[in-house]
């Protein structure tokens, strides 16, 4: 019995969500008096790998085959399954990123393991059960799901569990697996990442705009606000439907669910479908010229007024705060 954590990297770097997942996995390993092994796949240097120990991994398996350079869920699932076999892992943790979700499911099917995707708390292991709290109904509720299979898989929602330093010493082992050609039918031709863009699902602060902004030409003020906060940009569905912003930024029941510390909803009315995507946000701020807008029912702070005037003022005030 042991715990295995898969730590996803982006161009050789682990993101905060990976460290959060390591610390979360550490807590589970401690609870079960067992070892935590991290598996990293792809090209990651020794310094970066050492950080996994810093956040709580006892041991690191490093798989750096040339053909595993880019993420292919089928091939990565096979490597992680091998690592689970090697370490005798019965609990496998991943971060609930875009890639992590599909990977967890593929791995679950491979290992006949129950998968709790989008966990928001540590598992409850009382009475010899293993119950995980996760979001369901697109964020409108939580489900308490008992994983009854021998192997249990959890993907952790971002910004739920803090990455805590544990200061373990590093122990890296190279881990190679025999590749099954059937796993490599998917060819990654090209990867395009916008430079310096904060990714929405794991952003700590999200600046989100709705139809109240009246047009894409007014997004500059949101970009400035987001820049001042190091925030990710998001929007409501009609905004992406109208092509003002890309679909990948649309938050809500039929879009992305976010879990930031701060969500700033600007010119967003707060329709039930939109609110579903932000139920895990810790603090919600609304800026809307209609005091009756439903967004104020869920907001912690609000300003009733014209977004086009208030947002630049807020950016200026924040710049002062951060400098001060």
């Amino acid at each position: 019995m042991s715990v295995l954590i898969y730590t996803e990297n982006t161009d050789g770097k682990f993101k905060k969500s990976a460290f959060e997942a390591v610390s979360y996995a550490r807590a589970i390993a401690d609870k079960n008096n067992t070892q935590l092994t991290a598996i990293s796949i792809g090209e990651v240097n020794a310094n970066e790998l050492a950080k996994l120990a810093e956040y709580g991994a006892d041991k690191i398996l490093n798989t750096n085959n040339a053909n595993l350079k880019s993420f292919i869920n089928q091939a990565y699932a096979s490597v992680i399954a091998e690592a689970a076999k090697k370490t005798g892992a019965n609990i496998i943790i991943l971060a609930n990123t875009l890639a992590g979700r599909g990977l967890a499911a593929r791995l679950g099917a491979k290992l006949q393991a129950g998968v709790a995707e989008g966990a928001v708390a540590l598992p409850d292991q009382s009475d010899n059960k293993f119950i995980v709290k996760k979001t369901t109904f697109s964020g409108k509720a939580f489900a308490l799901v008992e994983l009854t299979s021998a192997i249990k898989i959890i993907s952790l929602t971002a910004n739920i569990y803090p990455a805590v330093s544990n200061n373990k010493t590093v122990q890296v082992e190279n881990f190679t697996v025999d590749n099954d050609p059937a796993d490599f039918k998917t060819i990654v031709k090209e990867i395009v990442r916008s430079a310096n863009k904060v990714s929405l699902p794991d952003a700590e602060i999200v600046v989100s705009g709705g139809r109240g902004l009246q047009g894409p030409e007014n997004w500059k003020i949101l970009e400035d606000l987001a820049d001042s906060l190091g925030a990710a940009l998001a929007c409501s569905k009609p905004v992406s439907d109208a092509g003002w912003r890309p679909h990948s930024e649309h938050v809500g029941q039929t879009g992305i669910s976010v879990s930031p510390n701060l969500y700033i909803a600007i010119g967003i009315s707060g329709a039930i479908q939109h609110l579903a995507g932000i139920s895990a946000a810790k603090v919600i701020v609304a800026i809307n010229n209609d005091a009756q807008a439903p967004i104020f029912k869920v907001a912690d702070y609000g300003i009733v007024g014209d977004a086009l005037t208030i947002v630049p003022q807020l950016t200026a005030a924040i710049k002062q705060k951060i400098v001060a």
Partner: protein, 243 residues
């Protein structure tokens, strides 16, 4: 090209979620059920890809008889026939096993699912199906083109996108952008009534998870309204401590 589109029967997006039986059952009282929005997009793309006799489309749903209106609604938008596997969809593992079992005896070139279902949404079925059928799976497609025996897919990734080529057969989870949902016309609605709907019985599947209960998010407190931006920034800094 034979295309299979997985259709999930989900509560309308305006549904206020509530539970009964000591928070262990979803309260379906007064709830309208619809075709999962992403499945509508998947179906729309299937219709485009099958246009001009280039393919046939089968819809598949794992569900009880109560899901038939939803299946007919989907058939009204398009598709040649439908299959219903007669069982309550216990979880993604159960659903994926049922569909995989059907596909093993009825092969398809392209299997489309939604990126996620908006009820028990786990974004799991596509990848599980891929694994059970031992074919590639793509979880979050934003664009799908088919060129002979190859799919060319744009997939959403953290902070960007990637371009993939994958040989058929494969499973694709469809996200927004792939197509515009088709609104059924009168002819479609009439035709849907007589399209074949085959009911097949489920296979046995081992249970890997059980839902023990539900919780609703904590109600949020009263909003604190402020008059100007400087005051708001101050509160976020000193009181909420989020900036």
């Amino acid at each position: 090209m034979k295309i299979l589109v997985c259709i999930s029967n989900v509560p309308d997006t305006t549904t206020k979620i509530a539970f009964t039986d000591n928070n262990t059952q979803f309260n379906t009282n007064g709830v309208q059920f619809i075709v999962n929005p992403y499945d509508e997009i998947a179906l729309a793309r299937a219709i485009e890809l099958a246009e001009d006799g280039k393919g046939t489309i089968t819809l598949i749903n794992v569900g009880g008889a109560n899901t038939e209106p939803t299946i007919r609604k989907a058939l009204a938008a398009g598709g040649d026939d439908a299959v219903r596997i007669n069982a309550e969809p216990h979880d993604a593992w159960f659903v994926a096993n049922q569909i995989a079992s059907y596909v093993k005896s009825n092969p398809y070139d392209l299997i489309l699912t939604g990126r996620e279902s908006i009820d028990y949404n786990g974004s799991k079925v596509a990848a599980m199906l891929g694994e059970l059928l031992n074919v590639p799976s793509v979880s979050t497609a934003k664009k799908i083109e088919i060129n002979g025996h190859e799919a060319i897919i744009e997939q959403e990734i953290e902070g960007g996108k990637e371009l993939l080529t994958v040989p058929l057969p494969l499973v694709i989870g469809v996200a927004e952008g792939v197509a515009e949902p088709k609104i059924p016309n009168m002819r479609g609605i009439m035709a849907a009534r007589t399209k074949p709907l085959t009911i097949i019985e489920p296979i046995e599947v081992n249970v890997v998870e059980e839902i023990r209960g539900y919780e609703l998010p904590e109600p949020r407190g009263q909003v604190k309204l402020v008059n100007d931006a400087a005051q708001l920034a101050q509160l976020l800094h000193t009181e909420a401590k989020v900036i």
